[in-house]
Every structure is written in C-alpha cells, then in structure tokens.
Amino acid sequence: MKPLVHALVFLIVLSTVNAIGISPPRIIAEGMNRGTQIEKLVFLSGVNSRDEVTIAVEGEVASWVSVDRELRFTVPDATPEIPLVFRIAVPQDKPNGKYTGTARLTSASRTPLTGQQTSVSVVAGVTLSFDVEVTGEQVKAYKITSVTLPPTSEQAPITLIITIDNTGNVAVKPSLVKLMIADKFKQSLLSSANLTATNAVAGHTKGNITLVVPQHLKPEEYWARVEVYDGTTVKFSQESVLEITTTQPAQTTPQQPVQILLKQVVVPPTVRTNDVIKLSASLENPARPVSAKFLAEIYKGERLVKVVESPVEQINTGHANLTAYFTPTEDGAYTVKAYVLYESVKTPLKESSFVVGGIKKTPPVEKKSWWSKLLILLVLITAGYVAFHWWRKTHRRRIW
C-alpha cells in the first residue's frame, strides 16, 4: 500500500478577493535616440489594502527601466490608485532596432494561511509591456493639445500658452503663431500679431511654449483667434474669449516655464492618536488653469502606513491650497512625502513630519460660571422668603 501524502489540500483560502489592475498596460517609445530617456506615468489599482506588491522587470530593456518606488512595497489602507513613474533610459551603445520587455507587478496577501498544513498560494499579477525603438534618425512628431489665453489686466501684456505633446526625438516649436483680436460681438478686428516662439519643447516630453504680446485694450471681453503654423500649414486654430480686467490678475512672470509648484506641505508638528490631521499643500500655478490633486504618503519609520489624497480640483492661475486628512492610530514619529499630480505630471516630493503622542484626553468637565450659581442662590432665597411669608399668613391667629 502506497503511503499517502497530504498534498495540495487547499488553493487560496482567503476571505477577500485577490485583485489587481494597471493602466495603461503598455509603454510605447518610438524614435528613441541613444542616450535619451522617456518617463511615463502608470496607475496600479484594485489591489487590497496591506497586500504586498512586487515589481519584476524582464526582457531586453530590463536594465534600461527604473521606477520611482521600491520594487517591493505594502499597499496602504484605502488606496484606490497607486501612481508609478517608469523611466526608460536608452544606453549610449545600443544599435538601432526594436527592443521589448515587461514589468510583472504581482499582489499577494501578507496574511499567512493559518490552520492549514498544506496549501498553495495563488498570486494575482498584471503586465506592463515595453516597446522601444532605437534609431539614429531625427524624428519630428508632435501635437498641440491646447492653447490658453489667461485673463490679463489693462496695460499688461497678453500671455499665450501653447501646450505641446512632443512624441518625436527632436525639440519642436511652431514656425509661426498668429493672434487676432476682435470685439466681443465679432464685428471689428481690433488688432493682429504674428509671433515667433523663442523656446522649444524637448523630445519625448510634454511642455509649453509661452508667447507674450503687448496690448493697449480697454478692460472688456474680446474674441481672440489663434492660428499655430508648422511651416505653411495651420496645425491648430482656436477661437476663445480673452478678458482684459481692471485689476492685476494673480499671475507670475509669463517667461517662467508653466508647471505646478508644490511650495510646502503644512502639518501640525504634534498631535494625539485619533486626532484628524489636516495636511495642507500650498501650490503656485504660474499659468493656465489645470485639474490637479494632492497626494501624501505617510510613513512611520520605514513603513508606509497610508496614502491620502485630496479631491481633484481646478487650480486656477496663482496661489492655491489643496487639503487631505489623516487619522493616526498609533503613537510615534511620522514622515510625510507629498506631491501633486496634474496632466500626467508628478511634482517632486516635499517632505514634512509630525509626532503622535498620547491618547486623546477627554475634555475636562465644564465648570459652571459663577454668575449662574449666584442666580440660583437668589432664586432660592426669593422662593424661601415667599414661602415663609405665605406660611406666616396662613398660620397667623385670628384676633377677632
């Protein structure tokens, strides 16, 4: 009789679903020159809180790929999306050709199976594929994703911001930009200008071309037509409202590159457990309005405890604040690493810290104020006096 083996009794005894998702699942980098790099933002979602995520890169481009996070990390509580920035840096010595690779991201429960002598874990994963074309040629390919004219005040110049998504490997800029301004009823052309850009957007990046035009219009609403040329071809045209105001709008130097600046993250330095902590991000937007959200990774020591985030909000030109909240449940020293996400861009991290100490004290019993005590005393005295006199009256002997 052959011995029996208690083998493979269970496949995944878990009380929660094991799930994982990635978007987008492909990074396609065409026309990459040797020595250049490209960055792409992808989002991991659907993973369970406290699961362990592992990132493993394989294939021809494995040594070219890096990610802005540890290759093994624990998912914090209540984190619907985890942003990951993958960078592909093409070595200087690679021949022309197409190269591929994959990053396998897996999610596994950290809770060990208990009570089972034999078991098999089932790990869920997703794949991020890399398709990289290395070339020695110059590739010019771009699209204009938006043209913005923020409001400006009388006597201040008009700022025209052209956002370009450069998918080629050479820096690009429009050959000519025409700006025509009509009255708000489009009945008369008031001014026109032919503009030439001085800066360009680098290859494999998304950036802005900023043009400044002097103007002497009165405070009013106007119609502005913008035509962006590539050679002699109109690559983009748009009509939009241009507002000239009487007061100086909140706007920084128009020559600065347009990007959201996370200036600081403010947190209370000391708090108690179970306090709701407000994390405030102070932002500066030097140009056109964008939709953005603020995220903060909260660490206790080396352990990532939670990622909290603000709602997505429209950030107009100038200063803005975004807010997220966190409730610590343990004492200790915490570090906050915060950033802002907007238009597939992740700002550099800003760090802050706070200390959680002591159980939240119950508030002292409120003492009654002295005047309320005095009032009660007076009422009692008055009531006593009235009662005494009533008793005397009712118990006085009749003399007739």
Binding site: L8, I12, I20, G21, S23, P24, E221, S291, V312
Partner: protein, 317 residues
C-alpha cells in the same frame, strides 16, 4: 351764521383746488411725452474653450467608477444672464449617432453642466463658465495605442441654450487608456488525499478569473515551490514536486491527457474573458487545475505558489 358759511365755502374752494391739481396736472404732463417700445433680437449662445480631463488622457480605476471633469466657456451677446443651461456629452468619437447616441457605459455619457458663479448681470458681461462631470465606469472602451479602438478617441461636447434656442457647441478630444485588470475569486479547495504516484484524474479544481478592466483578457501562468525559478510546484516536508506535476487548462480535463504542465517560464493561456458591459456583472471564466504526485521522494505536508497574470487581449486572439 355768515361766518360759518364763509368758512365752509373757503374750505370747499380749497378742496376743489387741490383736487383739480391732482387730476389735471398729470394730463398736462402726458401731453408733453410719447411712449416708445422695441424688442431685442435673441442671440444664440456660443461655446468655446472646452477642456476635457485637464487636457490629459483618461485613466480609469479597476472595478469602480471615476469622475472626469470638464470645463466650457459660454458667450451670449444678450448678456451672460441669458444663458440658461449647458448639455454635456462624452462619447467614443466613432460610436453610431455620435453625440446623439443613447447613454451606454462603454461608449456614451451625458452630464448636466453646472454654472460657475462668474456672471455679472447687467448686460456688459457676456460670458459664463460651466463645469461638467462625467462618472465613467471601469469598462468604458479604451482608445489608446494597442487597443481595439486605437484609431479613434473620446469627444467631449457642450451645447449651450438660452430660454429660446440652443446655440453653437464646442468639443475637445482625449484618449481613454487601456485598463488591464482582473480578480481571482476563489473558495477553499480540497484535493483530498493523494497517494504517492497518484493524481486527481478527471476531478479538477478551478479558480475563477473575473474581468475588472476595459478590454478582453487572457492570463499567463507560472509557479514555484519555495522560491521563484526553482522549477518546482510544491515544496514538501520531505522532498519537492516537479513543476509540471501541476496541470491546468481553460476547460475541464483528465490529468495526463489535455492538461498543460505548469512551467518556470510564464506561459499564456487563451482564456478570452470578455470586457464588461453591465455594472452588476463581472464577466468571468474558470481555469481548471489538476495535480499528481511522484511515486517516491516526497512526504508530509506540501506548499507552493501559482502566479496568474492578466494579459491584454484587445483583439481576442
């Protein structure tokens, strides 16, 4: 007596004089004025400067909805207070009937846009901005490179109206990125007791793969006994089990016949789990497993790991 009569008469004259002034004077004024009237032609509102998702491609979230923000500027030459409403549509650009198609979580969404508080009544301010929010489901069609709809994109269009007419719309386009996502929905599975040299025969255990993304899915499988790449399926109290002793397939099988042996190398299984179309149903398919033990060399309790990876299958091939 005469004094009384005189007094009465004086009062009467005074009253009559006052009444006369009250009645006659307006008639004299009317004689100097003439009434005029005119009506203003209604101007239809015009939309401009549409912005979809802040100018970025749309990335959806696994197995849940996501709010997509859009903005639009409306101009009405009768004054911004004449703008009454804006209807927003977000749809896959090539869907039949375009903006006029019926709502469908895979291809078409409608939103009632909300006005911002930036209209100054009085007639000189002609513009008002609106925000439109679309709640997209996780299985809305992808249109990015490599997806089944890579030749198209998604369009946001906003059509303004005043009390009389609908005006001129404006549109913006973006891509919706592919979301590759799955869940492994399992229960506890017991193979029972296996003898050395025995196997599960025609009895399979299965793991159900549910699609939580916006494209069709295949899966790939690999595994290990105690560490990745060890070429084992199980590590036991005594000995180890070779990796190919664990078999699987997309349909039920008898061990040793049509099952595919697990491998160190991640191997794709053509499962074709469909993209969702109903928020209450997650399309799913099972993967069937069987197992066999060697005739010698193992004993006691055994543990191992199977790694199941979702693979993008946009063209269901």
């Amino acid at each position: 007596m005469k004094e009384n009569i005189k007094s009465i008469l004086m009062h009467a004259v005074l009253v009559l004089a006052v009444a006369g002034v009250v009645v006659v004077l307006p008639r004299l004024a009317d004689a100097a004025n003439s009434s005029t009237s005119a009506s203003v032609t209604n101007a239809a509102p015009v939309a401009s400067s549409p912005v979809l998702n802040g100018g970025s491609d749309i990335t959806l979230t696994s197995n849940t909805t996501k709010s997509i923000l859009t903005t639009i500027t409306i101009t009405d030459n009768n004054g911004c207070e004449d703008i009454s409403s804006v209807a927003g549509k977000l749809f896959r650009t090539t869907v039949t009937d375009g903006a006029g198609a019926a709502d469908n979580n895979r291809t078409h969404y409608t939103s009632t846009c909300v006005a911002n508080n930036d209209c100054t009544a009085g007639g000189s301010d002609l513009t008002k901005t609106f925000n439109c929010t679309f709640v997209m489901t996780w299985y809305a069609d992808a249109t990015d490179a490599g997806s089944a709809n890579a030749s198209t994109n998604w369009t946001f269009t906003a059509t303004p109206s005043d009390a009389s007419v609908s005006g001129t719309n404006a549109s913006a386009v973006q891509e919706v990125n592919t979301l590759t996502s799955m869940s492994l929905e399992t229960t506890s599975i017991a193979y029972g007791t296996l003898a050395l040299g025995g196997d599960t025969g025609a009895t399979n255990q299965n793991i159900t793969i549910a699609n939580h993304g916006n494209e069709n899915l295949d899966v790939s499988l690999t595994g290990y006994g105690s560490s990745s790449g060890d070429n084992k399926s199980m590590s036991c109290t005594i000995g180890k089990v070779e990796i190919n002793k664990l078999q699987y397939n997309s349909s039920s099988f008898t061990y040793g016949t049509s099952g595919v042996g697990l491998s160190n190398v991640t191997t794709e299984l053509d499962l074709d789990v469909a993209q969702g179309s109903d928020s209450t149903v997650r399309p799913s398919k099972p993967v069937y497993f069987g197992f066999g033990l060697p005739s010698t060399g193992v004993g006691g309790s055994c543990t191992g790991t199977v790694v199941i990876t979702a693979v993008s299958d946009p063209n269901t091939d």
